[in-house]
């Protein structure tokens, strides 16, 4: 059950550089630790807008959550410079997370780059729930950017499949190769994916016709709470194509409800 949305300051209890230009912050935030994996927070940074970041970890027991982000611009650079004990002003938890996976169906988690963290949160939350085999496929540019691999490895029995664009770790190529193989073995499986939009488009395309494919999307946001209609993506409506708000109707969507064109 998702926690109530609030706006509040939370302290950073732990900060770690997890890869070049990739930082993870752990916050003491009991209110956020009731979030559903796939939900996100809207973090105050200097400037006009907040920054949406997904949960990399959600631990209701300790009341801690993680935010793992890549430094790509001014907002994330500012965030990466926060020190332990300083406070972050956060609106959250926001949006619709992943649905709980079905217990008896093979489950595949497919993450690309900074899309990997929310899948770890999903795995952590539901690892005991799923009794069927759990597979993890992680893709990144190079070995350096295959983040959270050890974390995943601790929670699953099967080896983690890794792909890199340059072949510096795992197999050379994208996550679509291993995913196609997984699919042929598990036509009845369920898939959670998060990563760059072209990757998600590839996943949606590859898994067309398969039920239970859930994708966590990104879109430029204004309010983060469904009020401004900035963050739309095209979905299937009852009367043809219709905009969905990533912040409110997503960020997790069933692959079938989106239009990829």
């Amino acid at each position: 059950m998702a926690g109530d949305v609030g706006v509040q300051d939370y302290p950073i209890v732990w900060k770690k550089n997890v890869a070049p230009d990739h930082v993870e912050l752990i916050l003491q935030a009991p209110m956020l630790a009731r979030a559903v994996p796939g939900q996100f927070v809207h973090v105050r940074t200097p400037g006009t807008l907040r920054r949406p970041i997904s949960f990399s970890r959600i631990d209701p027991e300790s009341g801690q959550v993680g935010l793992l982000f890549q430094v790509v611009g001014e907002g994330t650079a500012w965030l990466s410079q926060r020190s332990e004990n300083s406070l972050l002003n956060i609106i959250g938890p926001l949006g619709r997370g992943f649905p709980p996976p079905k217990a008896e169906r093979p489950w595949c988690l497919v993450g690309g780059g900074v899309g990997i963290p929310p899948l770890y949160a999903a795995l952590y939350a539901w690892r005991h729930r799923v009794t069927a085999p759990i597979s993890v496929i992680l893709g990144a540019r190079t070995a350096d950017y295959v983040i959270m691999r050890q974390d995943f490895a601790k929670l699953v029995n099967q080896p983690i499949e890794v792909t890199t664009d340059d072949g510096s770790l795992g197999s050379k190529g994208t996550v679509l190769g291993p995913l196609a193989r997984w699919r042929s073995r598990h036509p009845e499986g369920q898939v959670f994916a998060c990563g760059p939009t072209p990757m998600l488009a590839g996943v949606a395309n590859l898994l067309q016709g398969m039920g239970s494919v859930y994708l966590a999307l990104e879109q430029r946001m204004g309010c983060g709470v469904g009020a401004c209609l900035a963050c739309v993506v095209l979905g299937e409506g009852e009367n043809g194509p219709e905009w969905r708000r990533v912040c409110h109707d997503g960020p997790v969507f069933s692959a079938e409800e989106l239009i990829w064109r």
Partner: protein, 319 residues
């Protein structure tokens, strides 16, 4: 001395002068968990058209220095859905409800306004005349005095509700437009809507927004908004609702002194959902500091002949 924040915009009274600006506050419930609507002076809902409008392709927002570009494109579910799904919530929200009205022809504006006549719980209509006028090849109604007057006249004949007309800043003489709509029976002027701007997405070598150009809002445009309020205040006798980049009680005081009777806060809510309440909390102290016991006392204080504008200025007197 005790400060009283009660404000009136013509015949309409507000508990305080701070309202939510159209398009930045949805239809009310979205910010419900984060904002106490009952504390706001009012809420202007997203523009409503006769039938649903689809809006523009994403990306629809882009951050700029001290500003925000948006090309939402006036997406909305249409007046029927608004009356069915949104009005019931707004009616019981305990704040003034201002319905922002949009249309692509004069008839469309009238259609929305007429449909709303049978609905209770609406305190004012705000005519957004920055819409593309399909009959005139996409120019906006707010672009010249004649069209602005025509749409105001038509809508005026459909309703006795307080009618506010919202000015576009993208014209040479906004005060001229204000005079024209005042003559047609507008009860107040909202100023300003967003300033047309754009950004380039260098990586993709294309305009950053899906809608190519967008509307600039936020602190970047505050000086433009203040100038327009100041010009309009000298040209019309009806009240003005000022907006553009407001994010503090001092900003509100600037708009009051420039001639606004009340204000709206838009973009600032995105970063700080509680900012309107923070401003309302800060206003009494701010007004006291400026020797005022009510917002009304400051309205127009900086207009020619009103303040210390003709005051002796010595060399170096910059303070």
């Amino acid at each position: 001395m005790a400060v009283n924040l009660e404000t009136s915009v013509g015949a309409l009274s507000l508990t305080n002068p701070v309202m939510a600006a159209s398009g930045t506050f949805g239809f009310g419930p979205e910010y419900g968990p984060l904002v106490n609507l009952g504390r706001l002076g009012g809420v202007a809902v997203k523009g409503v058209s006769p039938i649903p409008w689809p809006g523009n392709p994403p990306p629809r927002v882009w951050e700029t220095d001290a500003g925000l570009l948006n090309s939402i494109g006036l997406q909305n579910p249409g007046v029927e859905v608004f009356c069915r799904d949104d009005l019931p919530f707004l009616r019981q929200a305990g704040t003034r409800v201002i319905v922002n009205v949009i249309g692509r022809t004069i008839e469309e504006y009238c259609q929305v306004v007429s449909r709303l006549e049978s609905e209770s719980g609406i305190d004012a209509l705000e005519l957004n005349i920055s819409c593309p006028n399909v009959k005139e090849g996409g120019m906006t109604f707010g672009q010249d005095e004649e069209h602005a007057a025509a749409v105001t006249r038509a809508v005026r004949s459909c309703t006795t509700r307080p009618l506010w007309v919202k000015l576009s800043p993208n014209v040479a003489d906004p005060a001229g437009i204000a005079v024209a709509v005042e003559a047609e029976g507008a009860d107040a002027i909202s100023a300003i809507n967003t300033v047309v701007g754009m950004a380039i997405d260098l990586k993709h070598r294309r305009p950053a927004l899906g809608g190519i150009t967008g509307g600039l809002s936020g602190p970047a445009i505050k000086p433009i908004a203040l100038r327009i309020v100041y010009q309009v205040a000298q040209a019309v006798h009806i009240p003005i609702i000022g907006m553009g980049g407001i994010r503090s009680a001092d900003d509100v005081a600037e708009f009051l002194m420039a001639g606004a009777s009340a204000v709206m806060v838009g973009t600032a809510t995105f970063a700080e959902p509680g900012i309107m309440e923070t401003i309302i909390d800060a206003l009494p102290t701010c007004l006291s500091r400026l020797d005022a016991t009510s917002p009304a006392e400051l309205v127009g204080a900086a207009l020619p002949g009103r303040g210390s504008i003709e005051e002796d200025r010595r060399p170096g007197d910059s303070s």
